[in-house]
């Protein structure tokens, strides 16, 4: 190799030598990714902040600087305030359901048993199938006339055949439907990560706990839970981000209706920014997703550091 380099001349030889140095090579390998992300996430993020201070619209492309006018307007807008509350409600309730259900399923699925593959496949379906498609299936699931869910409720004599609930047409039921679908699609993901958390506990710990006489719930509370907590919390943080910033489920199921009772930050930003063409105001609305991101980011950093210490 050395002779070849010498024959080719000193320039390529020197280049090759430089490329062999660790720091240079690392920078060379990482920089395309950093540039790509800076251009497609960093620039739009800064632009989103800038647009929120302008009156940019579909008609006037650049828009004029209007200071805090957009923020002042949306903070007095009852629909926007509603959307903040609905987003919080949807996220917290659905994720609480997810933690409980996924925790149970994960403990059931973690051991080997007959039929585990099939059950795991069925439980994972909601997450593996594209949510933007399956949520359309839920439109049919909740159809006012032909809802199969109502069919079960009627058969079980929970509701009468003449006063079947119109799931997506009444405010409280619409919210419940959206929360159900969000939980439905996040449970499999949380289950999978929880299982990883449980299996990461070494067998010796289990044995030691058994020798010390810890069993059942006590063992779970004092031994298993603390050990699987870091990974489980990552799953929860993910679930929070994905649910709070999701637009597909509310957009397709209700598009914010009825009477804005399920309007989310995301759907309202879309309605304002794209449908009504008020890009500046839409950008201001969507910026209210940032606090959620900040909380989750801090949580992730905290756990990344802690996991390393141990």
């Amino acid at each position: 190799m050395a002779t070849v380099a010498a024959v080719r001349g000193s320039r390529s030889g020197r280049l090759r030598y430089v490329a062999e140095r660790r720091g240079v090579l690392a920078a060379l390998l990482i920089s395309p990714a950093v540039l790509f992300i800076a251009a497609l996430v960093g620039v739009p993020l800064v632009l989103a902040v800038y647009l929120s201070f302008t009156n940019a619209s579909a008609g006037s492309i650049t828009g004029k600087w209007v200071g805090l006018a957009n923020f002042r307007r949306i903070l007095h807008d009852p629909i926007f305030r509603g959307s903040l509350w609905h987003t919080t409600e949807m996220t917290l309730i659905s994720q609480a359901v997810v933690v409980v259900c996924a925790g149970l399923i994960a403990h059931a699925l973690v051991h080997k048993f007959r039929g585990r593959w099939l059950l795991r496949f069925l439980i994972l379906l909601p997450w593996a199938a594209p949510i933007s498609l399956t949520v359309i299936g839920f439109l049919w699931f909740f159809d006012p006339q032909a809802s199969i869910w109502n069919w079960f409720l009627v058969k079980a004599h929970i509701v009468g055949p003449l006063n079947k609930p119109n799931w997506l047409g009444t405010p409280t039921d619409a919210m419940a439907s959206i929360i159900t679908v969000q939980a439905w699609r996040t449970i499999p993901f949380a289950t999978v990560i929880f299982i990883a958390g449980i299996s990461s506990i070494p067998q010796e710990v289990d044995d030691a706990a058994a020798i010390d006489g810890a069993t059942g719930l006590r063992k779970f509370w004092h031994v298993s839970l603390p050990l699987q907590l870091p990974i489980a919390l990552v799953a929860v943080l993910f679930g929070i981000v994905f649910t709070a910033t999701d637009m597909v489920v509310p957009y397709i199921l209700t598009n914010g209706g009825p009477f804005n009772s399920t309007q989310m930050i995301t759907t309202y930003a879309f309605t304002t920014g794209i449908n009504a063409g008020n890009i500046g105001e839409g950008a201001a609305i969507s910026l209210f997703l940032l606090p959620v991101l900040a909380i989750v980011a801090i949580g992730m950093l905290f756990f990344a550091r802690r996991a390393e210490v141990t």
Binding site: A33, L40, L119, A146, T266
Partner: protein, 274 residues
């Protein structure tokens, strides 16, 4: 003890499996119904199954076109993602110390910045500067913004499991660092790389917000946007057709997903928590 455990396992897993998978069962049943009977309360479960709605889907709608569009965007995005994320994931896995860790977590955090926050400014950039409105290329350009961080994270997890000694041996034998990357590291990582391919592809099939913002004509739509917007005739939803349209991509994707799930978990939890 074993009996109690079995009762717990099946008592939890079976009801949840039924609950979570039932929507798919109902979609399948509906997709086989004659369109005229979907609202007939006497035909809820008993009817003459027909494949008419599948044939309608393939012959009288743009469905095949949307499949092609999604596949086109998917393949290009996977290629771009691999080209950028493979080297970066490797370098971040090998960079020890503060810099590597901070960069790794930093890149990953950008994956959490959602499309719902970026679609408005990006719609400006796409229309004004890139002139890609209503073109699939707009999606090809934008989608790597979330697939690359995701792929880097997974790949970091995989590369960390490859022992450094293997590469050192190659260096001793006269291989260059770049050479050892292509001859040693990438070939052993093929299962991990395949996992990234599958999950990247599935992210692309899933994407809705950008696709509905940037694409406006029926022929250029991708699957998740075409199905809810264009399978409606007048105010009438063709429900059996829509159910078929959902199931056709979902079931194969779910099977592949399951096959690669364990690797996904290994990469996902190994990225920074190792």
């Amino acid at each position: 003890m074993a009996l109690r455990r079995n009762v717990f396992t099946y008592g939890i897993a079976v009801p949840f499996a039924i609950l979570l998978a039932f929507p798919f069962v109902w979609m399948f049943v509906t997709s086989l119904k004659p369109e005229a009977q979907v609202y007939d309360p006497t035909k809820t479960w008993r009817f003459h199954p027909t494949l008419a709605s599948y044939s309608f889907l393939f012959h009288h709608t743009d469905y095949v076109r949307w499949l092609e569009n999604s596949a086109f965007v998917g393949v290009l995005v996977v290629l771009i993602t691999l080209a950028v994320a493979l080297p970066a994931g490797y370098a971040l896995a090998r960079l020890s110390g503060r810099v590597g860790r901070t960069l790794g977590v930093g890149i990953f955090l950008t994956y959490l910045v959602p499309p719902t926050l970026l679609f408005l400014p990006l719609s400006r950039l796409i229309a004004q500067y890139l002139h890609l409105s209503d073109r699939l290329w707009a999606l090809v350009v934008v989608y790597p913004s979330f697939t690359i961080p995701f792929a880097i994270w997974l790949l970091m997890g995989f590369f960390k499991t490859i022992p450094q000694e293997l590469e050192d041996a190659a260096l001793v034998d006269g291989c260059s660092r770049i050479g050892s990357l292509f001859r040693i590291v990438f070939p052993i990582s093929i299962p991990g790389i395949l996992t990234v391919v599958i999950f990247t592809f599935s992210l692309v099939i899933n994407e809705f917000v950008y696709a509905i913002t940037f694409i406006s004509s029926a022929a250029n739509r991708t699957l998740p946007v075409g199905v809810p917007t264009d399978l409606i005739r007048g105010d009438l939803f063709n429900w059996p057709g829509i159910m078929g349209a959902i199931l056709i991509p979902s079931i194969p994707l779910a099977l592949v997903y399951n096959a690669f799930l364990n690797r996904f978990i290994a990469g996902f939890t190994g990225g920074a928590f190792r």
